[in-house]
Symmetry: C2
Subunit: 325 residues, 2 copies
Protein backbone atom coordinates (compact mmCIF):
# COMPACT_ATOMS: atom_id res chain seq x y z
CA UNK A 1 0.00 0.00 0.00
CA UNK A 2 1.68 3.22 -1.12
CA UNK A 3 1.50 6.56 0.72
CA UNK A 4 -0.75 7.86 -2.06
CA UNK A 5 -3.29 5.10 -1.45
CA UNK A 6 -3.49 4.58 2.31
CA UNK A 7 -6.06 2.40 4.02
CA UNK A 8 -8.46 4.22 6.31
CA UNK A 9 -6.71 2.56 9.23
CA UNK A 10 -3.42 3.99 8.03
CA UNK A 11 -5.03 7.41 7.68
CA UNK A 12 -6.33 7.24 11.21
CA UNK A 13 -2.91 6.33 12.50
CA UNK A 14 -1.10 8.98 10.43
CA UNK A 15 -3.46 11.94 10.84
CA UNK A 16 -2.33 12.94 14.32
CA UNK A 17 -2.44 11.23 17.70
CA UNK A 18 -5.84 12.73 18.53
CA UNK A 19 -7.45 10.97 15.56
CA UNK A 20 -7.12 7.32 16.68
CA UNK A 21 -8.01 8.41 20.23
CA UNK A 22 -11.22 10.14 19.11
CA UNK A 23 -12.11 7.39 16.64
CA UNK A 24 -11.88 4.93 19.55
CA UNK A 25 -14.19 7.19 21.58
CA UNK A 26 -16.66 7.21 18.69
CA UNK A 27 -16.65 3.40 18.66
CA UNK A 28 -17.24 3.34 22.41
CA UNK A 29 -20.16 5.71 22.07
CA UNK A 30 -21.70 3.79 19.21
CA UNK A 31 -21.38 0.53 21.12
CA UNK A 32 -22.86 2.08 24.25
CA UNK A 33 -25.75 3.59 22.31
CA UNK A 34 -26.50 0.34 20.53
CA UNK A 35 -26.26 -1.61 23.78
CA UNK A 36 -28.24 0.84 25.88
CA UNK A 37 -31.69 -0.02 24.57
CA UNK A 38 -32.26 -3.62 25.45
CA UNK A 39 -31.11 -6.85 23.87
CA UNK A 40 -33.19 -6.45 20.71
CA UNK A 41 -31.61 -3.23 19.72
CA UNK A 42 -28.16 -4.24 20.78
CA UNK A 43 -28.43 -7.21 18.44
CA UNK A 44 -29.81 -5.42 15.40
CA UNK A 45 -28.32 -1.99 15.82
CA UNK A 46 -25.06 -3.51 17.04
CA UNK A 47 -24.82 -5.59 13.88
CA UNK A 48 -25.56 -2.59 11.72
CA UNK A 49 -23.11 -0.35 13.47
CA UNK A 50 -20.45 -3.02 13.36
CA UNK A 51 -21.06 -3.55 9.64
CA UNK A 52 -21.07 0.20 9.02
CA UNK A 53 -17.72 0.18 7.32
CA UNK A 54 -14.87 2.54 7.49
CA UNK A 55 -16.31 5.38 9.55
CA UNK A 56 -15.39 7.91 6.90
CA UNK A 57 -17.91 10.46 8.13
CA UNK A 58 -16.70 10.50 11.76
CA UNK A 59 -13.14 10.59 10.46
CA UNK A 60 -13.94 13.61 8.28
CA UNK A 61 -15.52 15.36 11.24
CA UNK A 62 -12.56 14.65 13.50
CA UNK A 63 -9.94 15.87 11.03
CA UNK A 64 -12.07 18.93 10.17
CA UNK A 65 -12.22 19.79 13.86
CA UNK A 66 -8.47 19.43 14.25
CA UNK A 67 -6.39 18.64 17.31
CA UNK A 68 -7.34 21.69 19.39
CA UNK A 69 -11.10 21.05 19.36
CA UNK A 70 -12.82 19.77 22.54
CA UNK A 71 -12.51 15.99 22.24
CA UNK A 72 -15.72 15.06 24.05
CA UNK A 73 -17.94 17.18 21.81
CA UNK A 74 -16.07 16.12 18.69
CA UNK A 75 -16.60 12.45 19.50
CA UNK A 76 -20.30 13.00 20.25
CA UNK A 77 -20.88 14.87 16.98
CA UNK A 78 -18.91 12.25 15.05
CA UNK A 79 -20.99 9.46 16.58
CA UNK A 80 -24.17 11.38 15.71
CA UNK A 81 -23.17 11.67 12.06
CA UNK A 82 -22.35 7.97 11.92
CA UNK A 83 -25.70 7.10 13.51
CA UNK A 84 -27.55 9.01 10.78
CA UNK A 85 -25.51 7.08 8.24
CA UNK A 86 -26.26 3.75 9.96
CA UNK A 87 -29.98 4.55 10.12
CA UNK A 88 -29.93 5.26 6.39
CA UNK A 89 -28.18 1.96 5.69
CA UNK A 90 -30.80 0.00 7.61
CA UNK A 91 -33.62 1.74 5.78
CA UNK A 92 -31.88 1.42 2.42
CA UNK A 93 -31.74 -2.31 2.98
CA UNK A 94 -35.48 -2.29 3.62
CA UNK A 95 -36.02 -0.29 0.43
CA UNK A 96 -33.77 -2.57 -1.57
CA UNK A 97 -34.91 -5.82 0.01
CA UNK A 98 -31.22 -6.43 0.56
CA UNK A 99 -30.12 -9.63 2.25
CA UNK A 100 -26.44 -8.73 2.52
CA UNK A 101 -24.49 -5.61 3.41
CA UNK A 102 -20.72 -5.83 3.16
CA UNK A 103 -21.05 -9.58 3.04
CA UNK A 104 -23.03 -9.79 6.31
CA UNK A 105 -26.76 -10.43 6.69
CA UNK A 106 -28.77 -7.20 6.98
CA UNK A 107 -31.16 -6.40 9.84
CA UNK A 108 -33.88 -6.88 7.26
CA UNK A 109 -32.66 -10.41 6.54
CA UNK A 110 -32.24 -11.47 10.17
CA UNK A 111 -35.19 -9.68 11.77
CA UNK A 112 -37.65 -8.69 9.06
CA UNK A 113 -38.92 -5.46 7.67
CA UNK A 114 -40.71 -4.27 10.78
CA UNK A 115 -37.65 -4.61 13.00
CA UNK A 116 -35.44 -3.04 10.37
CA UNK A 117 -37.68 -0.01 9.96
CA UNK A 118 -37.93 0.52 13.71
CA UNK A 119 -34.19 -0.07 14.22
CA UNK A 120 -33.46 2.58 11.61
CA UNK A 121 -35.85 5.01 13.32
CA UNK A 122 -34.17 4.37 16.62
CA UNK A 123 -30.66 4.95 15.26
CA UNK A 124 -31.96 8.12 13.64
CA UNK A 125 -33.42 9.41 16.91
CA UNK A 126 -30.31 8.50 18.86
CA UNK A 127 -28.26 10.54 16.39
CA UNK A 128 -30.12 13.71 17.31
CA UNK A 129 -30.11 12.80 20.99
CA UNK A 130 -26.36 12.28 20.88
CA UNK A 131 -25.72 15.60 19.14
CA UNK A 132 -28.12 17.42 21.47
CA UNK A 133 -26.00 16.32 24.45
CA UNK A 134 -23.19 18.68 23.57
CA UNK A 135 -24.20 20.54 20.43
CA UNK A 136 -26.17 23.72 20.07
CA UNK A 137 -29.33 24.28 18.03
CA UNK A 138 -27.31 25.35 14.99
CA UNK A 139 -25.43 22.04 15.05
CA UNK A 140 -28.75 20.23 15.16
CA UNK A 141 -30.03 22.28 12.25
CA UNK A 142 -27.03 21.20 10.20
CA UNK A 143 -27.53 17.52 10.98
CA UNK A 144 -31.30 17.55 10.52
CA UNK A 145 -31.01 19.38 7.19
CA UNK A 146 -28.50 16.82 6.01
CA UNK A 147 -30.77 13.99 7.14
CA UNK A 148 -33.69 15.59 5.26
CA UNK A 149 -31.60 15.82 2.14
CA UNK A 150 -30.59 12.18 2.44
CA UNK A 151 -34.25 11.20 2.46
CA UNK A 152 -35.01 13.58 -0.44
CA UNK A 153 -32.19 11.95 -2.39
CA UNK A 154 -33.65 8.55 -1.69
CA UNK A 155 -37.09 9.73 -2.86
CA UNK A 156 -35.52 11.13 -6.02
CA UNK A 157 -33.74 7.87 -6.70
CA UNK A 158 -36.98 5.94 -6.37
CA UNK A 159 -38.83 8.41 -8.59
CA UNK A 160 -36.13 8.10 -11.27
CA UNK A 161 -35.89 4.33 -11.10
CA UNK A 162 -35.89 2.48 -14.47
CA UNK A 163 -35.62 5.73 -16.41
CA UNK A 164 -32.51 5.33 -18.56
CA UNK A 165 -32.98 8.83 -19.97
CA UNK A 166 -32.24 10.75 -16.75
CA UNK A 167 -29.74 13.54 -17.21
CA UNK A 168 -26.30 13.82 -15.74
CA UNK A 169 -27.52 16.91 -13.84
CA UNK A 170 -30.29 14.90 -12.24
CA UNK A 171 -27.82 12.16 -11.32
CA UNK A 172 -25.52 14.77 -9.76
CA UNK A 173 -28.35 16.28 -7.75
CA UNK A 174 -29.21 12.87 -6.38
CA UNK A 175 -25.55 12.29 -5.39
CA UNK A 176 -25.43 15.71 -3.74
CA UNK A 177 -28.46 14.90 -1.65
CA UNK A 178 -27.95 11.21 -0.96
CA UNK A 179 -24.24 11.22 -0.26
CA UNK A 180 -22.47 14.57 -0.31
CA UNK A 181 -24.73 16.33 2.22
CA UNK A 182 -23.73 14.11 5.13
CA UNK A 183 -20.03 14.45 4.25
CA UNK A 184 -20.60 18.21 4.18
CA UNK A 185 -22.40 18.14 7.51
CA UNK A 186 -19.53 16.15 9.02
CA UNK A 187 -16.97 18.69 7.83
CA UNK A 188 -19.09 21.67 8.83
CA UNK A 189 -19.78 20.33 12.31
CA UNK A 190 -16.07 19.66 12.66
CA UNK A 191 -15.26 23.19 11.52
CA UNK A 192 -17.63 24.65 14.09
CA UNK A 193 -15.93 22.73 16.88
CA UNK A 194 -12.41 23.46 15.67
CA UNK A 195 -11.15 26.13 13.28
CA UNK A 196 -14.43 28.03 13.60
CA UNK A 197 -16.85 29.96 11.42
CA UNK A 198 -14.16 31.23 9.04
CA UNK A 199 -13.41 27.68 7.89
CA UNK A 200 -17.03 26.45 7.77
CA UNK A 201 -17.82 27.18 4.13
CA UNK A 202 -14.51 25.92 2.82
CA UNK A 203 -14.63 22.69 4.80
CA UNK A 204 -18.26 22.19 3.76
CA UNK A 205 -17.12 22.45 0.14
CA UNK A 206 -14.26 20.03 0.86
CA UNK A 207 -16.82 17.56 2.23
CA UNK A 208 -19.08 18.05 -0.77
CA UNK A 209 -16.36 17.18 -3.24
CA UNK A 210 -15.12 14.20 -1.25
CA UNK A 211 -18.70 12.96 -0.90
CA UNK A 212 -19.42 13.28 -4.61
CA UNK A 213 -16.15 11.51 -5.44
CA UNK A 214 -17.07 8.76 -3.02
CA UNK A 215 -20.45 8.25 -4.71
CA UNK A 216 -19.03 8.32 -8.23
CA UNK A 217 -16.46 5.71 -7.28
CA UNK A 218 -19.09 3.63 -5.52
CA UNK A 219 -21.13 3.64 -8.72
CA UNK A 220 -18.06 2.63 -10.73
CA UNK A 221 -17.44 -0.21 -8.29
CA UNK A 222 -20.99 -1.49 -8.71
CA UNK A 223 -20.23 -1.96 -12.40
CA UNK A 224 -16.59 -3.04 -12.19
CA UNK A 225 -16.70 -5.26 -9.11
CA UNK A 226 -15.20 -7.52 -8.04
CA UNK A 227 -17.83 -8.67 -5.50
CA UNK A 228 -15.23 -9.95 -3.04
CA UNK A 229 -14.04 -6.37 -2.59
CA UNK A 230 -17.43 -4.67 -2.54
CA UNK A 231 -19.37 -7.26 -0.53
CA UNK A 232 -22.22 -7.14 -3.03
CA UNK A 233 -23.02 -8.53 -6.46
CA UNK A 234 -21.98 -6.63 -9.58
CA UNK A 235 -24.80 -4.73 -11.22
CA UNK A 236 -27.07 -4.33 -8.18
CA UNK A 237 -27.86 -0.78 -9.30
CA UNK A 238 -29.02 -2.10 -12.68
CA UNK A 239 -31.15 -4.74 -11.01
CA UNK A 240 -33.00 -2.19 -8.90
CA UNK A 241 -33.34 0.30 -11.76
CA UNK A 242 -30.87 2.87 -10.43
CA UNK A 243 -29.26 4.71 -13.33
CA UNK A 244 -25.76 5.93 -12.48
CA UNK A 245 -23.10 7.95 -14.27
CA UNK A 246 -21.24 4.97 -15.80
CA UNK A 247 -24.43 3.94 -17.62
CA UNK A 248 -25.33 7.54 -18.57
CA UNK A 249 -21.89 7.99 -20.12
CA UNK A 250 -21.77 4.52 -21.69
CA UNK A 251 -25.13 5.04 -23.41
CA UNK A 252 -23.60 7.90 -25.39
CA UNK A 253 -20.95 5.60 -26.78
CA UNK A 254 -22.76 2.33 -27.30
CA UNK A 255 -26.05 2.40 -29.27
CA UNK A 256 -27.02 -1.04 -27.96
CA UNK A 257 -26.81 0.30 -24.38
CA UNK A 258 -28.75 3.41 -25.44
CA UNK A 259 -31.57 1.13 -26.65
CA UNK A 260 -31.50 -1.11 -23.57
CA UNK A 261 -34.76 -1.37 -21.68
CA UNK A 262 -33.66 -1.45 -18.04
CA UNK A 263 -36.63 -3.53 -17.03
CA UNK A 264 -35.34 -6.33 -19.22
CA UNK A 265 -32.30 -6.69 -16.92
CA UNK A 266 -33.79 -9.12 -14.46
CA UNK A 267 -31.10 -11.50 -13.29
CA UNK A 268 -27.49 -11.25 -12.11
CA UNK A 269 -26.14 -12.96 -15.24
CA UNK A 270 -27.78 -10.43 -17.54
CA UNK A 271 -26.74 -7.60 -15.19
CA UNK A 272 -23.15 -8.80 -15.40
CA UNK A 273 -23.31 -8.77 -19.21
CA UNK A 274 -24.54 -5.18 -19.15
CA UNK A 275 -21.74 -4.29 -16.71
CA UNK A 276 -19.22 -5.73 -19.20
CA UNK A 277 -20.79 -3.67 -21.98
CA UNK A 278 -20.57 -0.50 -19.88
CA UNK A 279 -16.93 -1.23 -19.00
CA UNK A 280 -16.12 -1.85 -22.67
CA UNK A 281 -17.10 1.73 -23.58
CA UNK A 282 -14.41 3.23 -21.36
CA UNK A 283 -17.06 5.02 -19.29
CA UNK A 284 -15.66 3.66 -16.05
CA UNK A 285 -12.30 5.34 -16.57
CA UNK A 286 -14.08 8.57 -17.42
CA UNK A 287 -16.08 8.53 -14.20
CA UNK A 288 -13.08 7.45 -12.15
CA UNK A 289 -11.14 10.39 -13.56
CA UNK A 290 -13.95 12.80 -12.71
CA UNK A 291 -13.92 11.52 -9.14
CA UNK A 292 -10.17 11.87 -8.77
CA UNK A 293 -10.42 15.42 -10.09
CA UNK A 294 -12.99 16.21 -7.42
CA UNK A 295 -10.61 14.89 -4.76
CA UNK A 296 -7.72 16.86 -6.24
CA UNK A 297 -9.78 20.07 -6.22
CA UNK A 298 -10.95 19.36 -2.68
CA UNK A 299 -7.36 19.09 -1.52
CA UNK A 300 -6.26 22.15 -3.49
CA UNK A 301 -8.90 24.48 -2.09
CA UNK A 302 -8.59 23.93 1.62
CA UNK A 303 -8.84 27.00 3.86
CA UNK A 304 -5.93 28.41 5.84
CA UNK A 305 -5.33 25.77 8.48
CA UNK A 306 -2.28 24.48 10.29
CA UNK A 307 0.03 22.18 8.30
CA UNK A 308 -0.79 19.15 10.47
CA UNK A 309 -4.52 19.57 9.92
CA UNK A 310 -4.08 20.12 6.17
CA UNK A 311 -1.99 16.99 5.98
CA UNK A 312 -4.65 15.02 7.85
CA UNK A 313 -7.39 16.30 5.52
CA UNK A 314 -5.29 15.32 2.48
CA UNK A 315 -4.77 11.86 3.92
CA UNK A 316 -8.51 11.42 4.47
CA UNK A 317 -9.30 12.64 0.96
CA UNK A 318 -6.91 10.04 -0.43
CA UNK A 319 -8.26 7.42 1.94
CA UNK A 320 -11.77 7.89 0.61
CA UNK A 321 -10.69 6.92 -2.88
CA UNK A 322 -8.22 4.25 -1.83
CA UNK A 323 -10.36 1.20 -2.36
CA UNK A 324 -10.99 2.13 -5.96
CA UNK A 325 -7.45 2.15 -7.20
CA UNK B 1 -72.24 17.28 21.91
CA UNK B 2 -72.19 17.99 25.66
CA UNK B 3 -69.58 20.09 27.46
CA UNK B 4 -68.20 16.93 29.07
CA UNK B 5 -67.55 15.34 25.69
CA UNK B 6 -66.32 18.10 23.39
CA UNK B 7 -64.90 17.50 19.94
CA UNK B 8 -61.29 18.51 19.47
CA UNK B 9 -62.52 21.37 17.31
CA UNK B 10 -64.71 22.56 20.16
CA UNK B 11 -61.76 22.29 22.55
CA UNK B 12 -59.61 24.36 20.23
CA UNK B 13 -62.30 27.02 20.07
CA UNK B 14 -62.98 27.00 23.82
CA UNK B 15 -59.44 26.82 25.19
CA UNK B 16 -58.58 30.48 24.71
CA UNK B 17 -58.25 32.68 21.64
CA UNK B 18 -54.52 31.93 21.27
CA UNK B 19 -55.27 28.22 20.73
CA UNK B 20 -57.09 28.37 17.36
CA UNK B 21 -54.61 31.02 16.22
CA UNK B 22 -51.59 28.83 17.05
CA UNK B 23 -53.25 25.68 15.71
CA UNK B 24 -53.73 27.51 12.40
CA UNK B 25 -50.05 28.48 12.45
CA UNK B 26 -49.13 24.84 13.02
CA UNK B 27 -51.19 23.84 9.96
CA UNK B 28 -49.49 26.51 7.88
CA UNK B 29 -46.08 25.29 8.97
CA UNK B 30 -46.92 21.67 8.27
CA UNK B 31 -48.27 22.55 4.83
CA UNK B 32 -45.21 24.66 4.05
CA UNK B 33 -42.85 21.93 5.22
CA UNK B 34 -44.63 19.26 3.21
CA UNK B 35 -44.74 21.52 0.15
CA UNK B 36 -41.17 22.75 0.43
CA UNK B 37 -39.44 19.63 -0.81
CA UNK B 38 -40.60 19.08 -4.33
CA UNK B 39 -43.77 17.60 -5.79
CA UNK B 40 -43.07 14.04 -4.67
CA UNK B 41 -42.90 14.91 -1.03
CA UNK B 42 -45.73 17.38 -1.18
CA UNK B 43 -47.92 14.61 -2.53
CA UNK B 44 -46.95 11.88 -0.09
CA UNK B 45 -46.12 13.88 2.98
CA UNK B 46 -49.01 16.23 2.30
CA UNK B 47 -51.41 13.31 2.25
CA UNK B 48 -49.97 11.92 5.46
CA UNK B 49 -50.03 15.22 7.26
CA UNK B 50 -53.56 15.88 6.08
CA UNK B 51 -54.64 12.42 7.25
CA UNK B 52 -52.83 12.86 10.55
CA UNK B 53 -56.00 13.30 12.51
CA UNK B 54 -56.85 15.60 15.31
CA UNK B 55 -53.52 17.20 16.09
CA UNK B 56 -53.78 16.22 19.73
CA UNK B 57 -50.05 16.50 20.32
CA UNK B 58 -49.71 20.06 19.01
CA UNK B 59 -52.85 20.97 20.94
CA UNK B 60 -51.37 19.55 24.15
CA UNK B 61 -48.18 21.52 23.56
CA UNK B 62 -50.05 24.75 22.93
CA UNK B 63 -52.27 24.49 26.01
CA UNK B 64 -49.29 23.42 28.15
CA UNK B 65 -47.43 26.52 27.01
CA UNK B 66 -50.37 28.78 27.83
CA UNK B 67 -51.34 32.13 26.44
CA UNK B 68 -48.26 34.08 27.55
CA UNK B 69 -45.72 31.87 25.75
CA UNK B 70 -43.99 33.17 22.58
CA UNK B 71 -46.36 32.13 19.78
CA UNK B 72 -43.78 31.63 17.04
CA UNK B 73 -41.70 29.20 19.07
CA UNK B 74 -44.78 27.40 20.38
CA UNK B 75 -46.08 26.83 16.85
CA UNK B 76 -42.67 25.59 15.65
CA UNK B 77 -42.35 23.13 18.54
CA UNK B 78 -45.95 21.98 18.05
CA UNK B 79 -45.32 21.37 14.34
CA UNK B 80 -42.15 19.45 15.21
CA UNK B 81 -44.02 17.12 17.57
CA UNK B 82 -46.70 16.50 14.93
CA UNK B 83 -44.03 15.76 12.31
CA UNK B 84 -42.51 13.07 14.54
CA UNK B 85 -46.00 11.63 14.92
CA UNK B 86 -46.63 11.75 11.15
CA UNK B 87 -43.29 10.09 10.44
CA UNK B 88 -44.21 7.31 12.83
CA UNK B 89 -47.58 6.84 11.13
CA UNK B 90 -45.96 6.47 7.71
CA UNK B 91 -43.48 3.93 9.03
CA UNK B 92 -46.14 2.08 11.00
CA UNK B 93 -48.08 1.65 7.79
CA UNK B 94 -44.97 0.16 6.21
CA UNK B 95 -44.59 -2.18 9.18
CA UNK B 96 -48.23 -3.16 9.09
CA UNK B 97 -48.54 -3.34 5.31
CA UNK B 98 -51.53 -1.06 5.83
CA UNK B 99 -53.51 0.09 2.81
CA UNK B 100 -55.76 2.52 4.67
CA UNK B 101 -55.27 5.08 7.42
CA UNK B 102 -58.38 6.86 8.66
CA UNK B 103 -60.19 5.63 5.59
CA UNK B 104 -57.65 7.12 3.17
CA UNK B 105 -55.00 5.27 1.17
CA UNK B 106 -51.60 5.23 2.93
CA UNK B 107 -48.35 6.44 1.35
CA UNK B 108 -47.41 2.77 1.30
CA UNK B 109 -50.49 1.95 -0.78
CA UNK B 110 -50.13 4.83 -3.24
CA UNK B 111 -46.35 4.98 -3.60
CA UNK B 112 -44.87 1.73 -2.34
CA UNK B 113 -42.63 0.74 0.49
CA UNK B 114 -39.54 2.58 -0.67
CA UNK B 115 -41.31 5.91 -0.97
CA UNK B 116 -43.07 5.40 2.33
CA UNK B 117 -39.85 4.62 4.20
CA UNK B 118 -38.08 7.63 2.71
CA UNK B 119 -41.09 9.90 3.28
CA UNK B 120 -41.14 8.89 6.93
CA UNK B 121 -37.41 9.59 7.22
CA UNK B 122 -37.91 12.99 5.69
CA UNK B 123 -40.76 13.94 8.02
CA UNK B 124 -38.62 12.75 10.91
CA UNK B 125 -35.67 14.90 9.86
CA UNK B 126 -37.90 17.91 9.25
CA UNK B 127 -39.22 17.57 12.79
CA UNK B 128 -35.77 18.12 14.26
CA UNK B 129 -34.98 20.84 11.75
CA UNK B 130 -38.20 22.65 12.69
CA UNK B 131 -37.48 22.43 16.42
CA UNK B 132 -33.86 23.47 15.90
CA UNK B 133 -35.05 26.72 14.31
CA UNK B 134 -36.24 28.13 17.60
CA UNK B 135 -35.56 25.53 20.27
CA UNK B 136 -32.46 24.99 22.32
CA UNK B 137 -30.43 21.81 22.66
CA UNK B 138 -32.44 20.73 25.71
CA UNK B 139 -35.66 20.93 23.66
CA UNK B 140 -34.05 18.77 21.01
CA UNK B 141 -32.95 16.27 23.63
CA UNK B 142 -36.55 15.97 24.79
CA UNK B 143 -37.89 15.38 21.29
CA UNK B 144 -35.12 13.01 20.23
CA UNK B 145 -35.50 10.96 23.42
CA UNK B 146 -39.23 10.69 22.81
CA UNK B 147 -38.61 9.67 19.21
CA UNK B 148 -36.15 7.00 20.39
CA UNK B 149 -38.71 5.67 22.82
CA UNK B 150 -41.35 5.52 20.09
CA UNK B 151 -39.05 3.32 18.04
CA UNK B 152 -38.18 1.19 21.09
CA UNK B 153 -41.90 0.72 21.71
CA UNK B 154 -42.35 -0.37 18.13
CA UNK B 155 -39.49 -2.85 18.46
CA UNK B 156 -41.02 -4.18 21.66
CA UNK B 157 -44.39 -4.61 19.99
CA UNK B 158 -42.82 -6.57 17.16
CA UNK B 159 -40.84 -8.72 19.57
CA UNK B 160 -43.99 -9.50 21.57
CA UNK B 161 -46.16 -10.21 18.54
CA UNK B 162 -48.30 -13.38 18.70
CA UNK B 163 -47.41 -13.96 22.35
CA UNK B 164 -50.77 -14.11 24.14
CA UNK B 165 -49.00 -14.59 27.49
CA UNK B 166 -47.44 -11.13 27.70
CA UNK B 167 -47.99 -9.43 31.04
CA UNK B 168 -49.98 -6.34 31.73
CA UNK B 169 -46.74 -4.67 32.86
CA UNK B 170 -45.15 -5.40 29.53
CA UNK B 171 -48.20 -4.03 27.73
CA UNK B 172 -48.02 -0.86 29.85
CA UNK B 173 -44.34 -0.39 29.11
CA UNK B 174 -45.08 -0.62 25.43
CA UNK B 175 -47.85 1.99 25.74
CA UNK B 176 -45.54 4.26 27.72
CA UNK B 177 -42.91 4.07 25.00
CA UNK B 178 -45.07 3.97 21.88
CA UNK B 179 -47.66 6.54 22.84
CA UNK B 180 -47.24 8.32 26.15
CA UNK B 181 -43.69 9.56 25.55
CA UNK B 182 -44.66 11.87 22.70
CA UNK B 183 -47.60 13.26 24.67
CA UNK B 184 -45.16 13.84 27.54
CA UNK B 185 -42.68 15.54 25.24
CA UNK B 186 -45.45 17.79 23.89
CA UNK B 187 -46.44 18.86 27.41
CA UNK B 188 -42.85 19.27 28.58
CA UNK B 189 -41.86 21.34 25.57
CA UNK B 190 -44.96 23.47 26.15
CA UNK B 191 -44.07 23.88 29.82
CA UNK B 192 -40.56 25.03 28.93
CA UNK B 193 -41.95 27.71 26.61
CA UNK B 194 -44.68 28.81 29.00
CA UNK B 195 -45.03 28.26 32.74
CA UNK B 196 -41.38 27.21 32.97
CA UNK B 197 -39.23 24.66 34.76
CA UNK B 198 -41.44 24.51 37.87
CA UNK B 199 -44.33 23.10 35.83
CA UNK B 200 -42.24 20.76 33.65
CA UNK B 201 -42.49 17.59 35.73
CA UNK B 202 -46.17 17.99 36.50
CA UNK B 203 -47.14 18.70 32.90
CA UNK B 204 -44.97 15.80 31.76
CA UNK B 205 -46.95 13.56 34.11
CA UNK B 206 -50.21 15.05 32.80
CA UNK B 207 -49.12 14.15 29.28
CA UNK B 208 -48.13 10.65 30.35
CA UNK B 209 -51.55 9.91 31.78
CA UNK B 210 -53.41 11.41 28.84
CA UNK B 211 -51.21 9.45 26.46
CA UNK B 212 -51.76 6.17 28.28
CA UNK B 213 -55.51 6.80 28.38
CA UNK B 214 -55.46 7.55 24.67
CA UNK B 215 -53.69 4.26 23.91
CA UNK B 216 -55.98 2.21 26.19
CA UNK B 217 -59.03 3.68 24.49
CA UNK B 218 -57.53 3.14 21.07
CA UNK B 219 -57.04 -0.51 21.94
CA UNK B 220 -60.65 -0.72 23.15
CA UNK B 221 -61.80 0.82 19.89
CA UNK B 222 -59.91 -1.75 17.84
CA UNK B 223 -62.02 -4.42 19.52
CA UNK B 224 -65.32 -2.57 19.81
CA UNK B 225 -65.38 -0.76 16.48
CA UNK B 226 -67.37 0.39 14.66
CA UNK B 227 -65.08 0.72 11.61
CA UNK B 228 -66.91 3.80 10.29
CA UNK B 229 -65.73 5.67 13.38
CA UNK B 230 -62.21 4.31 13.54
CA UNK B 231 -61.41 4.24 9.82
CA UNK B 232 -60.03 0.72 10.13
CA UNK B 233 -61.32 -2.82 10.40
CA UNK B 234 -62.20 -4.27 13.80
CA UNK B 235 -59.59 -6.63 15.15
CA UNK B 236 -56.58 -5.30 13.21
CA UNK B 237 -54.45 -5.73 16.32
CA UNK B 238 -55.43 -9.40 16.51
CA UNK B 239 -54.63 -9.88 12.85
CA UNK B 240 -51.12 -8.54 13.23
CA UNK B 241 -50.50 -10.37 16.49
CA UNK B 242 -50.55 -7.32 18.78
CA UNK B 243 -51.81 -8.32 22.22
CA UNK B 244 -53.55 -5.43 24.00
CA UNK B 245 -55.11 -4.94 27.41
CA UNK B 246 -58.68 -5.93 26.39
CA UNK B 247 -57.40 -9.37 25.37
CA UNK B 248 -55.09 -9.68 28.38
CA UNK B 249 -58.03 -8.96 30.70
CA UNK B 250 -60.52 -11.05 28.72
CA UNK B 251 -58.25 -14.10 28.80
CA UNK B 252 -58.55 -14.15 32.60
CA UNK B 253 -62.31 -14.41 32.33
CA UNK B 254 -62.86 -16.65 29.34
CA UNK B 255 -60.96 -19.98 29.22
CA UNK B 256 -61.62 -20.32 25.49
CA UNK B 257 -59.85 -17.01 24.91
CA UNK B 258 -57.05 -18.10 27.23
CA UNK B 259 -56.52 -21.17 25.04
CA UNK B 260 -56.71 -19.24 21.77
CA UNK B 261 -53.70 -19.52 19.49
CA UNK B 262 -53.34 -16.04 18.05
CA UNK B 263 -51.81 -17.36 14.87
CA UNK B 264 -55.09 -19.15 14.14
CA UNK B 265 -56.82 -15.74 13.77
CA UNK B 266 -56.13 -15.20 10.10
CA UNK B 267 -59.06 -13.42 8.54
CA UNK B 268 -61.31 -10.47 9.42
CA UNK B 269 -64.34 -12.70 10.04
CA UNK B 270 -62.50 -14.77 12.62
CA UNK B 271 -60.99 -11.60 14.11
CA UNK B 272 -64.47 -10.14 14.49
CA UNK B 273 -65.64 -13.29 16.31
CA UNK B 274 -62.74 -12.99 18.74
CA UNK B 275 -63.59 -9.29 19.22
CA UNK B 276 -67.15 -10.31 20.16
CA UNK B 277 -65.80 -12.86 22.63
CA UNK B 278 -63.53 -10.24 24.23
CA UNK B 279 -66.43 -7.77 24.45
CA UNK B 280 -68.65 -10.42 26.02
CA UNK B 281 -66.29 -10.78 29.00
CA UNK B 282 -66.80 -7.15 30.04
CA UNK B 283 -63.07 -6.47 29.58
CA UNK B 284 -63.76 -3.45 27.39
CA UNK B 285 -65.61 -1.64 30.15
CA UNK B 286 -62.80 -2.45 32.54
CA UNK B 287 -60.18 -0.96 30.25
CA UNK B 288 -62.37 2.04 29.43
CA UNK B 289 -62.76 2.70 33.16
CA UNK B 290 -59.01 2.47 33.70
CA UNK B 291 -58.50 5.03 30.94
CA UNK B 292 -61.06 7.43 32.32
CA UNK B 293 -59.41 7.16 35.74
CA UNK B 294 -56.10 8.11 34.19
CA UNK B 295 -57.72 11.19 32.67
CA UNK B 296 -59.40 12.06 35.97
CA UNK B 297 -56.06 11.79 37.81
CA UNK B 298 -54.34 13.81 35.12
CA UNK B 299 -56.84 16.62 35.58
CA UNK B 300 -56.72 16.41 39.39
CA UNK B 301 -52.95 16.69 39.64
CA UNK B 302 -52.19 19.70 37.52
CA UNK B 303 -49.58 22.13 38.81
CA UNK B 304 -50.39 25.67 39.98
CA UNK B 305 -51.37 27.41 36.79
CA UNK B 306 -53.78 30.19 35.93
CA UNK B 307 -57.48 29.26 35.84
CA UNK B 308 -57.75 29.80 32.07
CA UNK B 309 -54.83 27.46 31.39
CA UNK B 310 -56.16 24.83 33.81
CA UNK B 311 -59.52 24.98 32.12
CA UNK B 312 -57.89 24.56 28.71
CA UNK B 313 -55.90 21.55 29.93
CA UNK B 314 -59.07 19.99 31.34
CA UNK B 315 -60.84 20.54 28.03
CA UNK B 316 -58.04 18.85 26.13
CA UNK B 317 -57.97 15.94 28.55
CA UNK B 318 -61.69 15.43 27.96
CA UNK B 319 -61.27 15.94 24.23
CA UNK B 320 -58.76 13.09 24.06
CA UNK B 321 -61.30 10.62 25.35
CA UNK B 322 -64.28 12.13 23.54
CA UNK B 323 -64.43 9.78 20.60
CA UNK B 324 -64.74 6.77 22.87
CA UNK B 325 -67.87 7.72 24.72
Amino acid sequence: MSAAAPTVEAVVAAAGSHVPRLMAQVEERLTALAGGHGPLLSRHAGDTIAAGGKRLRPLLLIVSAGEAAPGERVAAAAAAVELVHSATLVHDDVLDDAALRRGRPTVLATAGRAMATATGDLLFSRAFAELARGGDAADLRILSSAASDLARGELLQRADAWDAEISEARYRLRCELKTARLFQAACRLGARLGPGVAAEEALDEFGRRIGLAFQLLDDVLDVSGPPERTGKTRGTDLLDGTVTLPLIRARRRDPALARLNLRSVRDPTRAQEVCEAIAATGALDEVRTAALELVRDAKAQLPQLGPAQCRALHLVADGVVERYR
